[in-house]
């Protein structure tokens, strides 16, 4: 242990700790900007500088290791003057745009400017005049607001191994740019949105489409129907001042009715359906010698990744559409018929934790209903904004039930939101199909949790199925490289593009630390435990749709509506 003094307080911390960590232990918060709890230290912003006795120059707290007997002062006039100047310089070429900014009230730079009460900036404000990059349907980049902390580069390269972002030029003209300085759509970007979470300011954000929803609600001819992904509920409360997991599902349903949705249905219904189709697809591949290992296909960022970097493994992808797109295809066919509504009048909105889903819904092949299957995708954050605007006090709002035919769900669908959840849900069903026995303990704990790559073996009456689960694309890349090299004997692999799975999706409330993702995962499993039905094949509405429309898993109708194909994304520069 190392003993030191910070602002007169004695602290004892493990060797290798930084001043920043030691100060946190002493109860002193040192401001940071380029520092990120789950990333390597970058030490490029200098906002964290402190005085260290014996050093003439101020030291960066985030990168300076503590030494025995060190005496640190974190808020001397010299320190405050330096930090103020750093902020003034950043703000000198930052747009004075907080009122119009998507990160207003949720911005690390704004917080710092307020904390250091920057009033009259002596430096003239000169913004840099970059154009917005709106080249993708998912992500918007505004380089004018970039503070060059490089956290997005770390997220894209280290966490996601996509390498779509890099630094260009140097000194005053340096800027974070997509590959070769081209628009983002030309880069290998998979639209996962992890760079949004990493960014401390409003320089990267979702393609915000709330206005399109409001226009549809205002149109008397449109029947506005929504589906909600399983990961949304646990995090949405964070946007409206509640604790993670605390917003009850039925209250959320009523909230959606309040803001103008005509019908509220659940993506969980098609998550259960996915399990039936995908589980049977796996069994068919196992029995008939199909391409193995089979990869799950519900994460569109992962699909983009596979199509871009592993085109040779496309046949390993399950042909099942994602639950969002299954839902889209069914709501304008099956559900429209049941409700006797003209599918041409249905405006199908999906509420997702994901930015890549905006892109997925726009894929040209996603119109098997004869219309665009999903008209609009809104992220959890966008619905959060709508809820805040609505003025609803959610603690007083009465619960309301989902609308019929595509609103029932099981615990197996709920856990789709967490890494390992699709795998666990599939195992719950596949086990019972193969063994024809009831599964007593439905909990497959070995595939749960934040470990990057998880493995398990499941004995199905003598047939051993080997499975793997990876989340975050750099973990996916490790598994894919093994598959490509023929170095593993998995049968089934679940991959989610985002760390933690959908609960950490690019459209979720801004999540700086992985610790928050773990909290949301806990909330997901609590919800699963509390549900009366926890196996997808026992969902009554799923049974009904097989009786009335689909007749059998992987049947003719399923192929028409619920399955898809993939294509090599031939990006010019990787």
């Amino acid at each position: 242990m190392i003993n030191l003094t910070i602002d007169g307080i004695q602290v004892s911390v493990p060797k290798g700790s930084t001043i920043l960590q030691a100060a946190a232990q002493a109860g002193i918060r040192i401001p940071t900007l380029c520092w990120h709890p789950d990333q390597a230290v970058k030490a490029n912003c200098r906002i964290c500088v402190c005085e260290v006795e014996g050093n003439r120059l101020l030291q960066a707290a985030c990168s300076t290791p503590v030494t025995d007997g060190m005496v640190v002062k974190t808020k001397t006039p010299k320190v405050i003057e330096a930090r103020t100047m750093i902020l003034e310089l950043i703000l000198a070429n930052h747009p004075q745009d907080c009122l119009n900014c998507i990160r207003n009230q949720n911005c690390e730079l704004q917080d710092l400017a307020a904390e250091y009460f920057i009033r009259d900036n002596p430096f003239e404000n000169k913004t840099r005049g970059y154009e917005l990059d709106r080249s993708t349907p998912s992500i918007v980049r505004d380089q004018n607001k970039c503070v060059l902390c490089r956290r997005c580069i770390d997220a894209c390269s280290v966490t996601q191994s996509v390498y779509a972002l890099g630094l260009e030029n140097r000194g005053v003209s340096s800027m974070v740019v997509p590959t070769l300085g081209e628009p983002l759509i030309e880069s290998p970007c998979v639209m996962c949105g992890q760079c949004i979470h990493a960014c401390p300011v409003g320089a990267i954000y979702e393609n915000e489409q709330i206005d399109e929803l409001l226009a549809a609600i205002a149109d008397p001819d449109k029947v506005v129907v929504t589906q909600i992904a399983p990961a949304v509920r646990v995090a949405l409360g964070e946007e409206i001042g509640m604790k993670t997991g605390d917003l009850p599902m039925e209250v959320l349903v009523n909230g959606l009715r309040q803001v103008g949705f005509d019908y509220v249905l659940h993506t969980n219904f098609t998550a259960d359906l996915t399990i039936i189709e995908e589980g049977n697809e796996l069994l068919k591949r196992l029995k008939e010698g199909g391409t193995l290992p089979m990869f799950t296909s519900c994460s569109p960022g992962w699909i983009n990744f596979c199509e871009t970097f592993y085109p040779d493994l496309i046949d390993n992808l399950s042909t099942c559409k994602s639950p969002q797109q299954m839902f889209g295809a069914l709501v304008k066919t099956y559900w429209a018929e049941k409700m006797n509504i003209d599918p041409g009048n249905i405006y199908s909105v999906s509420i997702m934790p994901c930015t890549a889903k905006k892109y997925e819904a726009s894929r040209p092949e996603m119109c098997d209903s004869g219309y665009r299957d999903v008209d609009l995708v809104l992220t959890t954050r966008e619905i959060g904004r709508l809820f805040r605007m609505s003025g609803i006090d959610f603690s007083k709002l009465a619960p309301s039930q989902f609308d019929p035919w595509m609103g029932q769900y099981t615990g197996a669908a709920v856990i789709f939101g967490a890494t390992g959840g699709v795998m666990e849900a599939a195992l719950r069903t596949v086990y019972e199909i193969v063994t024809e026995q009831e599964l007593q303990d439905v909990n497959f704990r070995m595939v749960r949790g934040m470990e990057g790559i998880k493995e398990a073996e499941v004995d199905l009456n003598g047939t051993v199925v080997k499975v793997a689960v990876a989340h975050g694309l750099s973990n996916a890349r490790k598994v894919m490289d093994q598959v490509r090299a023929g170095q593993c004997d998995y049968h089934f692999i679940e991959i989610m593009a985002c760390p933690g799975g959908c609960i950490g999706g690019g459209g979720q409330p801004i999540t700086k630390a992985n610790a928050k993702r773990a909290e949301r995962i806990d909330a997901i499993y609590i919800e699963d435990e509390g549900l009366p039905i926890r196996k997808s094949h026992n969902n009554p509405e799923v049974k009904m749709i097989y009786n009335e429309l689909l007749h059998e898993p992987l049947g003719y109708k399923s192929h028409e509506l619920l399955h898809t194909h993939y294509q090599f994304k031939n990006k010019k520069y990787l």
């Binding site: 390498y163 890099g166 140097r170 740019v177 997509p178 070769l180």
Partner: protein
Amino acid sequence: MDYLKVISDHADVPGGILQAFHAVQAGLGYLPKEVIAEAARVFKISTADAHGVASFYSMFSVNSRGKNVIRICESAPCHVAGAAEVVAALERELGIKMGESTANGLFALEFTECVGQCQATPVITVNGKPYLDVKPAQIPSIIAEYS
């Protein structure tokens, strides 16, 4: 220039990417995107990172053309008025062909469509500023304005 070969020649050299970029820069006057992408592949880094390296050093030019873009109109009236001789003079004076940039990154030569100054052909523009009735003999002094 066979940049594929230039890059692969440096593949096993320590710091080879910089040397390869030097060689290509000397030959072409800039580092085309294809070169940066190929170097990324050979040196096993991402294209985004290779672009970072190429754009960091001021001795490399990652812009596909020189700073001052000289365009010559190749539409019919200018063509008839002797644009070809002006082209030849420009190429001789700068030591590059149309479509290329000078090694110092100062000049780029491009063709353009009619720029609407047909009353005084042939026409060239430098960074958008038109020069009318251009004679080959004037080229050195026009270039000198920007050197």
